[in-house]
Protein backbone atom coordinates (compact mmCIF):
# COMPACT_ATOMS: atom_id res chain seq x y z
CA UNK A 1 0.00 0.00 0.00
CA UNK A 2 1.45 3.33 -1.06
CA UNK A 3 1.73 6.28 1.32
CA UNK A 4 -0.78 8.28 -0.74
CA UNK A 5 -3.30 5.48 -0.57
CA UNK A 6 -2.79 5.16 3.17
CA UNK A 7 -3.44 8.88 3.64
CA UNK A 8 -6.61 8.63 1.52
CA UNK A 9 -7.76 5.69 3.62
CA UNK A 10 -7.16 7.49 6.93
CA UNK A 11 -8.96 10.61 5.67
CA UNK A 12 -11.90 8.54 4.42
CA UNK A 13 -12.25 6.76 7.76
CA UNK A 14 -12.07 10.13 9.51
CA UNK A 15 -14.77 11.45 7.17
CA UNK A 16 -17.06 8.51 7.95
CA UNK A 17 -16.43 8.99 11.67
CA UNK A 18 -17.24 12.69 11.40
CA UNK A 19 -20.52 12.09 9.58
CA UNK A 20 -21.64 9.37 11.98
CA UNK A 21 -20.77 11.58 14.98
CA UNK A 22 -22.62 14.59 13.56
CA UNK A 23 -25.62 12.43 12.73
CA UNK A 24 -25.69 11.08 16.30
CA UNK A 25 -25.27 14.55 17.82
CA UNK A 26 -28.19 15.84 15.75
CA UNK A 27 -30.40 13.15 17.26
CA UNK A 28 -30.62 10.76 14.33
CA UNK A 29 -30.06 7.66 16.50
CA UNK A 30 -33.73 6.84 16.79
CA UNK A 31 -35.77 3.77 17.63
CA UNK A 32 -39.18 3.12 16.16
CA UNK A 33 -41.89 2.04 18.61
CA UNK A 34 -44.17 -0.67 17.31
CA UNK A 35 -47.77 0.30 18.02
CA UNK A 36 -50.90 -1.43 16.80
CA UNK A 37 -51.47 1.23 14.17
CA UNK A 38 -47.84 1.30 13.04
CA UNK A 39 -47.73 -2.48 12.75
CA UNK A 40 -51.01 -2.63 10.84
CA UNK A 41 -49.89 0.14 8.48
CA UNK A 42 -46.61 -1.56 7.76
CA UNK A 43 -48.17 -4.96 7.25
CA UNK A 44 -50.79 -3.47 4.92
CA UNK A 45 -47.97 -2.13 2.75
CA UNK A 46 -45.62 -5.11 2.84
CA UNK A 47 -48.22 -7.89 2.81
CA UNK A 48 -51.45 -6.31 1.57
CA UNK A 49 -53.21 -9.66 1.16
CA UNK A 50 -52.62 -10.69 4.77
CA UNK A 51 -55.94 -10.38 6.60
CA UNK A 52 -54.98 -10.02 10.25
CA UNK A 53 -57.46 -11.50 12.69
CA UNK A 54 -55.83 -10.49 15.96
CA UNK A 55 -52.68 -8.67 17.04
CA UNK A 56 -50.28 -9.09 19.93
CA UNK A 57 -48.28 -5.88 20.28
CA UNK A 58 -45.13 -6.12 22.38
CA UNK A 59 -45.17 -4.17 25.62
CA UNK A 60 -41.66 -2.92 24.87
CA UNK A 61 -42.64 -1.63 21.43
CA UNK A 62 -40.07 -3.77 19.64
CA UNK A 63 -42.33 -6.18 17.79
CA UNK A 64 -45.88 -7.25 17.07
CA UNK A 65 -47.44 -10.41 15.70
CA UNK A 66 -50.70 -11.12 14.00
CA UNK A 67 -52.41 -14.32 13.05
CA UNK A 68 -54.26 -14.47 9.80
CA UNK A 69 -58.02 -14.76 9.55
CA UNK A 70 -57.74 -18.32 8.27
CA UNK A 71 -55.24 -19.22 10.99
CA UNK A 72 -52.70 -20.51 8.48
CA UNK A 73 -50.15 -17.72 8.74
CA UNK A 74 -48.39 -15.44 11.18
CA UNK A 75 -47.15 -11.94 10.41
CA UNK A 76 -44.36 -10.34 12.36
CA UNK A 77 -43.54 -6.65 12.40
CA UNK A 78 -40.38 -5.61 14.22
CA UNK A 79 -38.49 -2.39 14.73
CA UNK A 80 -35.18 -1.74 13.00
CA UNK A 81 -33.76 1.64 13.90
CA UNK A 82 -36.47 4.16 13.09
CA UNK A 83 -38.07 1.78 10.59
CA UNK A 84 -39.85 -1.55 10.59
CA UNK A 85 -39.44 -4.86 8.86
CA UNK A 86 -41.99 -7.60 8.36
CA UNK A 87 -41.96 -11.36 8.01
CA UNK A 88 -44.76 -13.67 6.95
CA UNK A 89 -44.55 -17.20 8.31
CA UNK A 90 -46.58 -20.29 7.58
CA UNK A 91 -48.09 -21.29 10.93
CA UNK A 92 -47.15 -24.96 10.53
CA UNK A 93 -43.50 -24.10 9.89
CA UNK A 94 -43.17 -21.32 12.45
CA UNK A 95 -40.70 -22.03 15.22
CA UNK A 96 -42.07 -20.16 18.21
CA UNK A 97 -41.21 -20.79 21.84
CA UNK A 98 -42.08 -19.14 25.10
CA UNK A 99 -39.40 -17.61 27.29
CA UNK A 100 -41.12 -16.19 30.35
CA UNK A 101 -43.41 -13.41 29.19
CA UNK A 102 -41.71 -13.30 25.82
CA UNK A 103 -42.23 -15.26 22.64
CA UNK A 104 -39.21 -16.09 20.52
CA UNK A 105 -39.80 -16.41 16.79
CA UNK A 106 -36.84 -18.17 15.18
CA UNK A 107 -36.25 -16.78 11.69
CA UNK A 108 -32.90 -18.42 11.00
CA UNK A 109 -31.95 -15.67 8.59
CA UNK A 110 -28.53 -14.21 7.99
CA UNK A 111 -29.78 -10.77 8.89
CA UNK A 112 -31.95 -11.76 11.87
CA UNK A 113 -31.84 -15.03 13.76
CA UNK A 114 -34.91 -14.37 15.86
CA UNK A 115 -37.50 -11.81 16.89
CA UNK A 116 -38.59 -11.48 20.52
CA UNK A 117 -42.09 -10.33 21.32
CA UNK A 118 -42.87 -9.36 24.92
CA UNK A 119 -46.40 -10.16 26.00
CA UNK A 120 -48.02 -8.37 28.98
CA UNK A 121 -47.41 -11.42 31.20
CA UNK A 122 -46.61 -15.14 31.08
CA UNK A 123 -50.26 -16.15 30.83
CA UNK A 124 -50.74 -13.93 27.79
CA UNK A 125 -47.56 -15.33 26.24
CA UNK A 126 -48.84 -18.88 26.85
CA UNK A 127 -52.20 -18.06 25.28
CA UNK A 128 -50.59 -16.55 22.23
CA UNK A 129 -48.18 -19.44 21.85
CA UNK A 130 -51.20 -21.69 21.73
CA UNK A 131 -52.96 -19.43 19.24
CA UNK A 132 -49.95 -19.19 16.97
CA UNK A 133 -48.71 -22.74 17.01
CA UNK A 134 -51.23 -24.97 18.72
CA UNK A 135 -54.91 -25.59 18.49
CA UNK A 136 -55.95 -22.32 20.08
CA UNK A 137 -58.70 -20.44 18.27
Amino acid sequence: MTQGLLIELVLSIAGVGLLVAVSWMLGAWRNAFVTANAAADRLAFDEPDFAAREWLVGADGKAAAARSADGAEIALVFALGDSFATRRLARRQARVEQRGAALRFALGEVSRRAVYLTAPDEAAARRWLSLLTGDGV
Binding site: M1, I13, G15, L19, L26, A28, P48, R53, L80
Partner: protein, 303 residues
Protein backbone atom coordinates in the same frame (compact mmCIF):
# COMPACT_ATOMS: atom_id res chain seq x y z
CA UNK B 1 -3.99 12.32 -21.75
CA UNK B 2 -3.99 11.61 -18.03
CA UNK B 3 -7.34 11.13 -16.36
CA UNK B 4 -7.66 12.09 -12.70
CA UNK B 5 -9.18 9.82 -10.04
CA UNK B 6 -12.25 12.01 -9.81
CA UNK B 7 -14.19 9.87 -7.34
CA UNK B 8 -11.40 10.32 -4.78
CA UNK B 9 -11.22 14.01 -5.61
CA UNK B 10 -14.97 14.34 -5.12
CA UNK B 11 -14.98 12.67 -1.69
CA UNK B 12 -14.64 15.95 0.29
CA UNK B 13 -17.63 17.29 -1.66
CA UNK B 14 -19.63 14.19 -0.72
CA UNK B 15 -18.86 14.83 2.96
CA UNK B 16 -19.79 18.51 2.75
CA UNK B 17 -23.03 17.70 0.91
CA UNK B 18 -24.03 15.09 3.52
CA UNK B 19 -23.31 17.53 6.34
CA UNK B 20 -25.48 20.10 4.57
CA UNK B 21 -28.29 17.58 4.12
CA UNK B 22 -28.06 16.56 7.78
CA UNK B 23 -28.32 20.22 8.80
CA UNK B 24 -31.28 20.71 6.47
CA UNK B 25 -32.97 17.58 7.87
CA UNK B 26 -32.53 18.88 11.41
CA UNK B 27 -33.76 22.39 10.68
CA UNK B 28 -36.65 21.63 8.31
CA UNK B 29 -37.74 18.15 9.40
CA UNK B 30 -37.83 17.05 5.76
CA UNK B 31 -36.17 13.83 4.66
CA UNK B 32 -35.10 11.07 7.04
CA UNK B 33 -31.83 10.18 8.72
CA UNK B 34 -31.02 7.36 11.13
CA UNK B 35 -27.51 7.12 12.50
CA UNK B 36 -27.01 3.34 12.27
CA UNK B 37 -28.45 3.26 8.77
CA UNK B 38 -26.23 6.13 7.65
CA UNK B 39 -23.19 4.54 9.31
CA UNK B 40 -23.87 1.27 7.50
CA UNK B 41 -24.16 3.10 4.17
CA UNK B 42 -20.93 4.99 4.75
CA UNK B 43 -19.01 1.86 5.76
CA UNK B 44 -20.33 0.09 2.66
CA UNK B 45 -19.11 3.01 0.56
CA UNK B 46 -15.70 2.94 2.19
CA UNK B 47 -15.44 -0.82 1.71
CA UNK B 48 -16.46 -0.58 -1.92
CA UNK B 49 -13.43 1.62 -2.56
CA UNK B 50 -10.98 -0.49 -0.55
CA UNK B 51 -11.95 -4.10 -1.28
CA UNK B 52 -11.33 -3.98 -5.07
CA UNK B 53 -7.74 -3.00 -4.29
CA UNK B 54 -7.19 -6.56 -3.07
CA UNK B 55 -7.36 -8.18 -6.48
CA UNK B 56 -10.31 -7.01 -8.58
CA UNK B 57 -8.67 -3.81 -9.80
CA UNK B 58 -5.49 -5.62 -10.77
CA UNK B 59 -7.43 -8.41 -12.48
CA UNK B 60 -9.58 -5.94 -14.43
CA UNK B 61 -6.53 -3.88 -15.43
CA UNK B 62 -4.83 -7.03 -16.71
CA UNK B 63 -7.95 -8.16 -18.60
CA UNK B 64 -8.55 -4.77 -20.20
CA UNK B 65 -4.87 -4.28 -21.10
CA UNK B 66 -4.93 -7.64 -22.85
CA UNK B 67 -8.25 -6.97 -24.64
CA UNK B 68 -7.11 -3.48 -25.69
CA UNK B 69 -4.52 -5.09 -27.97
CA UNK B 70 -7.37 -6.43 -30.07
CA UNK B 71 -9.36 -3.18 -30.22
CA UNK B 72 -11.52 -2.63 -33.28
CA UNK B 73 -10.79 1.09 -33.59
CA UNK B 74 -7.98 3.43 -32.54
CA UNK B 75 -10.05 5.95 -30.62
CA UNK B 76 -7.97 8.97 -29.54
CA UNK B 77 -8.13 10.55 -26.12
CA UNK B 78 -9.96 13.55 -27.57
CA UNK B 79 -12.86 15.51 -26.05
CA UNK B 80 -15.36 14.10 -28.57
CA UNK B 81 -14.22 10.60 -27.68
CA UNK B 82 -14.74 11.29 -23.98
CA UNK B 83 -18.31 12.44 -24.69
CA UNK B 84 -18.98 9.38 -26.85
CA UNK B 85 -17.41 7.12 -24.24
CA UNK B 86 -19.60 8.69 -21.54
CA UNK B 87 -22.79 8.10 -23.55
CA UNK B 88 -21.87 4.50 -24.40
CA UNK B 89 -20.79 3.81 -20.84
CA UNK B 90 -24.10 5.21 -19.63
CA UNK B 91 -25.88 2.79 -21.98
CA UNK B 92 -23.70 0.00 -20.57
CA UNK B 93 -24.67 1.11 -17.07
CA UNK B 94 -28.37 1.03 -17.96
CA UNK B 95 -28.22 -2.61 -19.07
CA UNK B 96 -25.95 -3.73 -16.26
CA UNK B 97 -28.31 -2.04 -13.80
CA UNK B 98 -31.40 -3.54 -15.41
CA UNK B 99 -29.92 -7.03 -15.42
CA UNK B 100 -28.83 -6.51 -11.80
CA UNK B 101 -32.51 -6.10 -10.94
CA UNK B 102 -33.79 -8.89 -13.16
CA UNK B 103 -31.24 -11.67 -12.52
CA UNK B 104 -30.51 -12.81 -9.00
CA UNK B 105 -26.79 -13.51 -9.50
CA UNK B 106 -26.30 -9.82 -10.28
CA UNK B 107 -28.95 -8.72 -7.79
CA UNK B 108 -26.80 -10.30 -5.05
CA UNK B 109 -24.24 -7.56 -5.68
CA UNK B 110 -26.68 -4.71 -6.27
CA UNK B 111 -29.17 -5.43 -3.48
CA UNK B 112 -26.69 -3.75 -1.15
CA UNK B 113 -27.48 -0.37 -2.68
CA UNK B 114 -31.22 -0.86 -2.12
CA UNK B 115 -31.03 -2.31 1.37
CA UNK B 116 -31.57 0.97 3.19
CA UNK B 117 -35.10 2.03 4.06
CA UNK B 118 -33.89 5.62 3.90
CA UNK B 119 -33.26 7.78 0.89
CA UNK B 120 -30.62 10.38 1.53
CA UNK B 121 -27.14 11.20 0.29
CA UNK B 122 -25.54 8.46 2.40
CA UNK B 123 -27.67 5.92 0.49
CA UNK B 124 -25.77 6.90 -2.66
CA UNK B 125 -22.58 5.62 -1.05
CA UNK B 126 -24.07 2.27 0.02
CA UNK B 127 -22.29 0.27 -2.67
CA UNK B 128 -21.46 -3.35 -3.30
CA UNK B 129 -18.27 -5.02 -2.14
CA UNK B 130 -18.63 -7.96 -4.51
CA UNK B 131 -19.63 -6.65 -7.92
CA UNK B 132 -16.68 -4.83 -9.44
CA UNK B 133 -14.89 -7.81 -11.01
CA UNK B 134 -17.93 -9.60 -12.42
CA UNK B 135 -19.64 -6.44 -13.64
CA UNK B 136 -16.45 -4.90 -15.00
CA UNK B 137 -15.37 -8.02 -16.84
CA UNK B 138 -18.73 -8.72 -18.47
CA UNK B 139 -20.17 -5.29 -19.16
CA UNK B 140 -17.21 -2.93 -19.55
CA UNK B 141 -14.87 -5.09 -21.62
CA UNK B 142 -16.88 -4.48 -24.84
CA UNK B 143 -16.03 -0.76 -24.59
CA UNK B 144 -12.35 -1.66 -24.35
CA UNK B 145 -12.72 -3.91 -27.37
CA UNK B 146 -14.29 -1.03 -29.29
CA UNK B 147 -11.12 0.98 -28.70
CA UNK B 148 -11.75 3.27 -25.74
CA UNK B 149 -8.72 3.36 -23.50
CA UNK B 150 -9.42 1.73 -20.11
CA UNK B 151 -8.33 4.87 -18.23
CA UNK B 152 -10.91 6.89 -20.18
CA UNK B 153 -13.61 4.35 -19.34
CA UNK B 154 -12.73 4.47 -15.63
CA UNK B 155 -12.84 8.28 -15.82
CA UNK B 156 -16.29 8.51 -17.45
CA UNK B 157 -17.67 5.89 -15.07
CA UNK B 158 -16.37 8.06 -12.24
CA UNK B 159 -18.28 10.99 -13.73
CA UNK B 160 -21.41 8.83 -13.86
CA UNK B 161 -21.00 7.80 -10.21
CA UNK B 162 -20.53 11.40 -9.12
CA UNK B 163 -23.61 12.45 -11.09
CA UNK B 164 -25.65 9.78 -9.34
CA UNK B 165 -24.67 11.01 -5.90
CA UNK B 166 -26.85 14.13 -5.78
CA UNK B 167 -30.01 12.40 -6.99
CA UNK B 168 -30.26 10.41 -3.74
CA UNK B 169 -32.21 13.02 -1.84
CA UNK B 170 -35.76 13.86 -0.81
CA UNK B 171 -34.95 17.55 -0.60
CA UNK B 172 -35.33 18.20 -4.32
CA UNK B 173 -38.84 17.72 -5.65
CA UNK B 174 -38.72 18.14 -9.42
CA UNK B 175 -36.22 19.74 -11.75
CA UNK B 176 -37.28 21.80 -14.81
CA UNK B 177 -39.28 19.81 -17.33
CA UNK B 178 -36.53 19.59 -19.98
CA UNK B 179 -34.11 18.38 -17.30
CA UNK B 180 -36.53 15.71 -16.08
CA UNK B 181 -37.00 14.52 -19.66
CA UNK B 182 -33.31 14.22 -20.48
CA UNK B 183 -31.50 13.38 -17.25
CA UNK B 184 -31.86 11.25 -14.18
CA UNK B 185 -33.19 13.28 -11.25
CA UNK B 186 -34.05 12.81 -7.57
CA UNK B 187 -37.69 12.29 -8.56
CA UNK B 188 -36.90 9.56 -11.11
CA UNK B 189 -34.47 7.83 -8.81
CA UNK B 190 -36.82 7.89 -5.81
CA UNK B 191 -39.11 5.77 -7.97
CA UNK B 192 -36.23 3.42 -8.66
CA UNK B 193 -35.56 2.92 -4.94
CA UNK B 194 -39.22 2.47 -4.02
CA UNK B 195 -40.83 -0.85 -3.11
CA UNK B 196 -44.36 0.26 -3.99
CA UNK B 197 -45.47 -2.40 -6.50
CA UNK B 198 -46.22 0.15 -9.23
CA UNK B 199 -42.69 1.53 -8.94
CA UNK B 200 -40.81 -1.80 -8.96
CA UNK B 201 -38.26 -2.44 -11.72
CA UNK B 202 -38.30 1.07 -13.19
CA UNK B 203 -35.90 3.92 -13.97
CA UNK B 204 -32.58 2.12 -14.34
CA UNK B 205 -30.76 5.09 -15.86
CA UNK B 206 -27.43 6.31 -14.57
CA UNK B 207 -27.27 9.81 -16.04
CA UNK B 208 -29.35 9.90 -19.25
CA UNK B 209 -33.02 9.17 -18.69
CA UNK B 210 -33.51 8.54 -22.39
CA UNK B 211 -32.51 4.88 -22.00
CA UNK B 212 -35.55 4.18 -19.83
CA UNK B 213 -37.77 5.99 -22.31
CA UNK B 214 -36.30 4.03 -25.24
CA UNK B 215 -36.36 0.61 -23.58
CA UNK B 216 -39.75 1.00 -21.90
CA UNK B 217 -38.78 1.05 -18.22
CA UNK B 218 -39.64 4.66 -17.38
CA UNK B 219 -42.14 5.32 -14.58
CA UNK B 220 -42.76 8.88 -13.35
CA UNK B 221 -43.11 9.70 -9.67
CA UNK B 222 -46.75 10.17 -8.71
CA UNK B 223 -47.27 12.72 -5.95
CA UNK B 224 -50.31 10.73 -4.84
CA UNK B 225 -48.15 7.70 -4.06
CA UNK B 226 -45.16 8.47 -1.90
CA UNK B 227 -42.26 6.06 -2.42
CA UNK B 228 -41.41 3.68 0.43
CA UNK B 229 -37.80 2.70 0.22
CA UNK B 230 -35.87 -0.49 0.81
CA UNK B 231 -36.30 -3.99 -0.53
CA UNK B 232 -39.35 -6.20 -0.62
CA UNK B 233 -38.09 -8.25 2.33
CA UNK B 234 -36.06 -5.76 4.34
CA UNK B 235 -32.96 -6.89 6.17
CA UNK B 236 -33.11 -7.15 9.95
CA UNK B 237 -29.64 -5.76 10.61
CA UNK B 238 -27.34 -2.79 10.10
CA UNK B 239 -24.23 -5.00 10.14
CA UNK B 240 -22.18 -4.18 6.99
CA UNK B 241 -21.03 -7.80 6.63
CA UNK B 242 -24.64 -8.94 6.66
CA UNK B 243 -25.57 -6.25 4.13
CA UNK B 244 -22.68 -7.24 1.86
CA UNK B 245 -23.11 -10.99 1.89
CA UNK B 246 -26.65 -11.96 2.97
CA UNK B 247 -28.00 -12.44 -0.55
CA UNK B 248 -24.96 -14.51 -1.53
CA UNK B 249 -25.56 -16.73 1.49
CA UNK B 250 -29.25 -16.98 0.61
CA UNK B 251 -28.32 -18.07 -2.92
CA UNK B 252 -25.92 -20.64 -1.47
CA UNK B 253 -28.64 -22.04 0.80
CA UNK B 254 -31.09 -22.20 -2.08
CA UNK B 255 -28.56 -24.01 -4.28
CA UNK B 256 -28.03 -26.57 -1.53
CA UNK B 257 -31.78 -27.17 -1.51
CA UNK B 258 -32.08 -27.34 -5.31
CA UNK B 259 -33.46 -30.65 -6.55
CA UNK B 260 -32.67 -30.20 -10.22
CA UNK B 261 -30.57 -28.23 -12.65
CA UNK B 262 -33.67 -26.20 -13.45
CA UNK B 263 -33.95 -25.20 -9.79
CA UNK B 264 -30.27 -24.25 -9.63
CA UNK B 265 -30.53 -22.12 -12.77
CA UNK B 266 -33.70 -20.50 -11.47
CA UNK B 267 -32.12 -19.66 -8.12
CA UNK B 268 -29.15 -17.96 -9.79
CA UNK B 269 -30.31 -16.61 -13.14
CA UNK B 270 -34.01 -16.30 -12.46
CA UNK B 271 -35.49 -13.05 -11.22
CA UNK B 272 -35.09 -12.20 -7.51
CA UNK B 273 -37.94 -13.89 -5.66
CA UNK B 274 -38.08 -16.87 -8.00
CA UNK B 275 -38.73 -20.24 -6.36
CA UNK B 276 -39.52 -23.65 -7.83
CA UNK B 277 -42.98 -23.80 -6.25
CA UNK B 278 -43.82 -20.14 -6.70
CA UNK B 279 -44.09 -19.62 -2.96
CA UNK B 280 -41.91 -16.51 -3.08
CA UNK B 281 -42.80 -13.42 -5.02
CA UNK B 282 -40.98 -11.83 -7.95
CA UNK B 283 -41.57 -8.19 -8.93
CA UNK B 284 -43.98 -9.33 -11.61
CA UNK B 285 -45.96 -11.39 -9.09
CA UNK B 286 -46.00 -8.48 -6.64
CA UNK B 287 -47.41 -6.20 -9.31
CA UNK B 288 -50.04 -8.81 -10.22
CA UNK B 289 -50.97 -9.24 -6.55
CA UNK B 290 -51.40 -5.51 -6.17
CA UNK B 291 -53.52 -5.33 -9.31
CA UNK B 292 -55.78 -8.09 -7.95
CA UNK B 293 -56.11 -6.32 -4.61
CA UNK B 294 -56.83 -2.97 -6.25
CA UNK B 295 -59.68 -4.61 -8.13
CA UNK B 296 -61.07 -6.34 -5.05
CA UNK B 297 -63.00 -4.91 -2.07
CA UNK B 298 -60.83 -3.93 0.93
CA UNK B 299 -59.90 -6.49 3.59
CA UNK B 300 -61.94 -6.56 6.77
CA UNK B 301 -60.14 -4.83 9.67
CA UNK B 302 -58.57 -6.86 12.47
CA UNK B 303 -60.39 -7.28 15.77
Amino acid sequence: MNFPDIVTLATPLFIIAILAELAAWKTTGRGRYETRDAAASLVMGLGSQIIPLFGAKVALAALWTWVYQFRLFDIPNAPWAIVLCFVLDDLRYYWLHRIAHERRLFWATHVVHHSSQHYNLTTALRQTWTGSLLNGAIFTTPLVLLGFHPTMIVFVFGLNLIYQFWIHTEFIDKMPRWFEWLLNTPSHHRVHHATNPRYLDANYAGTLMIWDRIFGSFTPEDRAEKPRYGIVKNLGSFNPLVIAFSEWINIGRDLLSARSLRDAVGFTLGPPGWSPDGSRLTSKMLKERQARLDAAPPLAPAE
